[in-house]
Amino acid sequence: MKVIAILIIVLTGGLLIYGVEEMPDWGDPNSPASSHVSPKYIQEALEKTATPNMVTAVLGDYRGYDTMGETAVIFTAGIGCILMLRKKRKGEGD
């Protein structure tokens, strides 16, 4: 068990370290992540959604559908715990 775990970790770690080298420099304002989609959020969020906090604007408006999924996840977890942990009442079932 432990041997397999260490083997998997070595493989994963090797791949991750291999990948880091060619990543865009950390914190570079001109990296693709900061220059392709997100500038529009920063520029437009206030104007279009009247929310000074850009994270909230994107969370609740641009990507509101993700947030709906997120609440559904919480609901799923809650109902799931009810389903699993509820004990049988006396006189019901076996």
Binding site: M1, K2, I4, A5, I6, I8, I9, T12, G13, L16, I17, V20, M23, D25, W26, G27, D28, P29, A33, S34, V37, S38, P39, Y41, I42, Q43, A45, L46, E47, A50, P52, N53, M54, V55, A57, V58, L59, R63, D66, T67, G69, E70, V73, I74, T76, A77, G80, C81, M84, L85
Partner: protein, 135 residues
């Protein structure tokens, strides 16, 4: 070399945390330990995403700092992109944190079911009981 390591230190930290979590999930025998590993593993991924959003050179938190009402009223807010951090990874991670806690909650409920059935949380003991009873 040292400069190279330091220039990307948070990526190294995220890799270390991810591997610690992965090791705990696969190698530890106690089931609670596996779940602790799962939490570390998921927060390592979140750390990676947060690192993507960072912008150096005077950028600050993604909250509009000026007079929001005035700027909105005129509809003319000229906002310098370079002065705010990329908000998108943060949005994604808000969702991911909640998802990870929901997963932990469900996993802990399953854990309690396991404990009710086998009266132990050690992987090897459970496997032994399962072999003995032929389940």
């Amino acid at each position: 070399m040292l400069e190279y390591i330091i220039s990307k230190y948070n990526f190294w930290v995220y890799i270390i945390l991810l591997l610690i979590g992965l090791y705990a999930m696969l190698g530890k025998k106690n089931l609670v330990k596996k779940l602790i590993g799962m939490n570390i593993f998921q927060s390592a991924v979140i750390l990676f995403y947060v690192s993507i959003g960072v912008k150096k050179g005077g950028a600050t938190v993604p909250i509009f700092m000026g007079d929001a009402h005035a700027a909105h009223g005129h509809g003319q807010a000229i906002i310098d992109v370079a002065s705010y951090i990329n908000p998108l990874p943060h949005v994604l991670m808000l969702t991911a944190i909640v998802v990870s806690i929901a997963t932990t909650g469900v996993a802990l409920a399953v854990l309690i079911l396991i404990f009710r059935r086998y009266k132990t949380l050690e992987l090897d003991e459970i496997i032994k009981i399962r072999k003995d009873t032929g389940v």
